[in-house]
Amino acid sequence: MSSNSWWNNVVPRGFQKKPDGSPPPPKKDTRLDKANPDDQQWVKCPQTNELYPRDDIEAAHWVTPAGFHMRIGAEPRFKSLFDSKWTLIPLPKVPADPLKFKDDKKYVDRLKAARAKTAREDCMTAGYGRIGGQKAVVLVQDFDFMGGSLGMAAGEAFVTAAETAVRRGAALIVCTASGGARMQEGVLSLMQMPRTTLAIQDLREAGLPYVVVLCDPTSGGVTASYAMLGDIHIAEPGAMIAFSGPRVIEQTIRQKLPEGFQRAEYLLEKGMVDMVVRRGEMRDTIGAILSILMSKRAQAVAAADEPQLPLMLPDEGPAPARDARKQERANARQRPKAAE
């Protein structure tokens, strides 16, 4: 008897039924800059292949009329989540290429290429602002930067975002998009699983909500750490959310996977997420959740009559604010250059 047949016997038949509804996901990269490289004015829906004016799609938070949720980076994500403006949170530097890793290419060269392509230092970007009037730190993982892989920079960004949320009495919202651990950082990448988990403990102890927005795709070590430790798990429609990739599973169990397997709707059915929410409704949904989860806290703060930190980081106070501004100016300077 093989272990596989044992396994099939253990899995109840009912568990294997197909979840219905979700459209079959396209295989291609859905980033907008690749959707139609020849004409920036038009965006092609990866599901229907229809072309739409870029402005319309952007106004719809990069969701096509067919309901396809395109992969987005930090800027559009912040725009779709925060009430109005937000402040970028400076993220710490990490040691570069501690393994001196090389496969076909040197890791440092891959990093350089990713930085040039995305005009950011690594896959994580953190912003601070308000959602539905509630204070929130939003951390966005950009799949376009080396597959959103979790390395030391991403882990440290997560820790920083959580610390900032605790300091400011804000909720932490993390939008995940990742192929998993960054192999080029080896076991140091694996260590980001306990490291991010520790940061979440700070939020728990401070009684601050930790909301995970699971975006397409989220997998591997990210799923097996901070993506599955939220107080609330919200998935975007059609998002692939997995621990092991479908190819690995098919090779292991030697059978075809059911349709819709590992999609957001499937995870909802299996009890791993609280809800599947369209991007256009994400701000209102999170705002409503935060207003309830943070209501006791708001009362306590009001009762204590504590002077609150002002909303925007640059107004915060002497030294840190200067550093923050400096970093932002530096970021601003870097960006157009890197984008060329």
């Binding site: 008897m1 093989s2 272990s3 044992w6 396994w7 253990v10 899995v11 568990f15 294997q16 400076p90 710490p92 530097k93 990490v94 501690p98 393994l99 890793f101 090389k102 496969d103 076909d104 030391m152 440290e156 820790v159 920083t160 610390e163 651990a181 192999m183 080896g186 076991v187 140091l188 694996l190 260590m191 699983m193 306990p194 490291r195 988990t197 520790l198 403990q201 591997g220 070590g221 799923t223 097996a224 750490s225 993506a227 599955m228 430790l229 997995a242 621990f243 092991s244 690995v248 599973i249 292991t252 169990i253 059978q255 996977l257 299996k270 791993m272 915060e316 840190p320 550093d323 923050a324």
Partner: protein
């Protein structure tokens, strides 16, 4: 009968000669054989020492996976008295890829949890080659809860290629189980010591290895992905596992350099599988020492130590307190 690894061929030749000579010596009763025999034995030992002193990361991976290497059950049999194995996650199933129970670790009341790969074909299937399903991690969480409640230190022995990548793991939240298990390690109010005794494979390993003190056997490996899986991603060729094993710096010596682990437990010459009792005793002594060092710490101090330990890994000095 020893199973020789490819790179051990020179040792195999000498040891075969020794075996043949010993046989001759016995049948002839000739004392004249003994100088030659002892010279050969010396040579074999020297060669073994030399080969094992410069194992490359891929060779270490093979040693770490050696079927005769001591496994969880061997450690428990030798080191834990009054062991009571505890089964099941109370939610769905029993998963024998992770075994756990209470007992006295060299006299110290403890919760002992670890991966078991199994040795015979039947055992390997029973234990699923040490690849846990969600239930294994949920059992570990249950046992850690219990340890916390009863003030029992937790000892874990890590030896897994990784979590089992099956359909059921996705259906029943394998990722969530690993995340929660890691979290449970980090929130324990009792001392926790983890030893990577064979393969420390990815999330499946860290789920029971986020401890106050993390040790590794000399030829164990600790890695974010198996070299084969890494090679099939990076090169689309699992055959290049040797290159990826080297590039990923998976050895105990590398892990110590990165401060991912706190110490290396020396193996007998020629690896733990050549003198299992000796290796098991060395692990026992190292764990006992680590436990004793933590024994006077209170819950909050233990949590704070774990936190400081993991947050310090890979951190740049000046970013320890970034200005915000």
């Amino acid at each position: 009968m020893t199973q020789y690894l490819d790179f051990e061929k020179p040792i195999k030749l000498i040891e075969e000669q020794i075996a043949a000579l010993s046989g001759d010596a016995q049948s002839a009763g000739a004392a004249a054989m003994s100088p030659q025999l002892s010279r050969l034995k010396n040579n074999a030992e020297k060669l073994l020492g030399e080969i094992y002193a410069r194992l490359d990361p891929w060779q270490k991976t093979l040693v770490a996976r050696h079927v005769e290497r001591p496994h969880f059950k061997d450690y428990v049999a030798a080191l834990v008295t009054d062991f009571v194995e505890l089964a099941g996650d109370r939610k769905y199933a029993e998963d024998a890829a992770i075994v756990g129970g209470i007992g006295r670790f060299l006299g110290r009341p403890c919760m002992v949890i670890g991966h078991e790969k199994g040795r015979t074909t039947h055992e390997r299937i029973t234990h699923n080659f040490g690849m846990s399903r969600p239930e294994g991690y949920r059992k570990a969480i249950r046992l850690m809860d219990m340890a916390d409640r009863f003030g029992l230190p937790v000892v874990t022995l890590v030896d897994t290629p990784g979590a089992y990548p099956g359909l059921g793991a996705e259906e029943r939240g394998g990722a969530e189980a690993i995340a929660r298990s890691t979290e449970r390690c980090l929130t324990l109010g009792v001392p926790m010591v983890a030893v990577i005794v064979g393969e420390g494979g990815s999330g499946g390993a860290i789920a029971i290895a986020a401890a106050n003190t993390v040790l590794m056997l000399e030829h164990a490996v600790y890695s974010v992905i198996t070299p084969e899986a890494g090679a099939s991603i990076l090169y689309k060729d699992a055959g290049r596992a040797k290159d990826v094993a080297a590039a990923m710096r998976i050895t105990a010596q590398d892990c110590l350099g990165f401060k991912v682990i706190d110490g290396i437990i020396k193996e007998p010459i020629g690896g733990a599988h050549r003198a299992p009792e000796q290796a098991v005793a060395a692990v026992g002594a190292a764990v006992a020492k680590a436990l004793d060092a933590l024994t006077d710490m209170e819950g909050p101090a233990l949590k704070a130590q774990r936190r400081a330990r993991f947050l310090a890994i890979g951190r740049m000095e000046e970013s320890a307190a970034p200005a915000r």
